[in-house]
Assembly symmetry: C2
Homo-oligomer: 181 residues x 2
């Protein structure tokens, strides 16, 4: 951020009085510009013993596999966001179930939330941001070709829970990479 989005004057980066963290502050109109973590919402769409994955047509991780998910939009709920992302990325209709995982990815200021979901039909296909959409059984999951650690962790927990016969809600933190990507 270089300029105030309110008045267009240059901003400075300093700790406002009464605050404890540096912010982008406009010395012309006094607006303080806060930056906050972003929510990513998505689904684990189930069809019999398989789940639906999408192969990414966009960066980051172009060509890698992921669960349908993306940035939550204003004026929607987390469940509505999960259904919207599944429609956008896989053109798929789901019934959103229980919240399954909430994963902190603090080094990139993101929180990832995934829901279990029931795929309502097999009429799915790649949306604009996907190269391919496909159902995978546990044995078929392309573990080495998954796009994100939060997705891999959630899928690992999901199949563990399924084998144990009970799905639980999971909260976890993804540590910063030792060698930042």
């Amino acid at each position: 951020m270089n300029f105030c989005s309110q008045c267009g004057a240059p901003v400075s980066f300093r700790i406002p009085s009464g605050d404890s963290l540096p912010r982008h502050v406009c010395d012309h109109c006094s607006t303080i510009h806060y930056s906050n973590p972003k929510l990513v919402v998505g689904a684990i769409p189930e069809w019999e013993d398989k789940i639906l994955l999408c192969r990414r047509a966009i960066e980051p991780r172009h060509g890698k596999w992921t669960l349908p998910s993306g940035f939550m939009e204003n004026h929607e709920t987390t469940a509505e966001g999960a259904a919207r992302e599944t429609a956008e990325e896989a053109c798929a209709r789901i019934e959103v179930g229980e919240m399954y995982s909430l994963i902190n990815v603090a080094h990139i200021s993101q929180v990832h939330i995934l829901y279990r979901a029931r795929l309502l039909d097999l009429d799915f296909r790649p949306g604009e941001e996907s190269l391919e959409t496909r159902l995978f059984s546990e044995a078929e999951i392309p573990w080495d070709e998954l796009a994100f650690r939060s997705i891999a962790l959630s899928l690992r927990l999901y199949f563990e829970d399924r084998r144990a016969g009970q799905y639980r809600f999971h909260v976890a933190d993804i540590p910063a990479p030792v060698h930042p990507a």
Copy 2:
């Protein structure tokens, strides 16, 4: 938003190509400025059969009671944010426990997350944003003087769970008020 925070040129509000929602777009440097929901994180600090509430010294809801909570900051986890807010608003040290509730407040584009927490000592006092900090038993909760519906809902669920002998994780949505405040 009136001006591009990158280059300072005026922005327009329109649907970018390939997108489905209107965004603030800079026609000078082509930056698309996204606005996303904010996370509010907080705690239900427990001491024996009582919980710690703060009376707000700031708007909105100046003078009303709330659980220690506030906007999540970049580069922290949801649990770290809950502990930080409790330290800031009540100068209190807690051990953060299980995530207790996640409440969508879609009409103001917020998601509120509360954790159960163990107050580590009684050395609490109002922080800069609080007028008063106090322990309340269930019978003492000032239900008509609570600041936010998400707080009232979480406390109601909390005491119901406590009576039932088992705390569960709750996901809920707060509807828009019929007469917007």
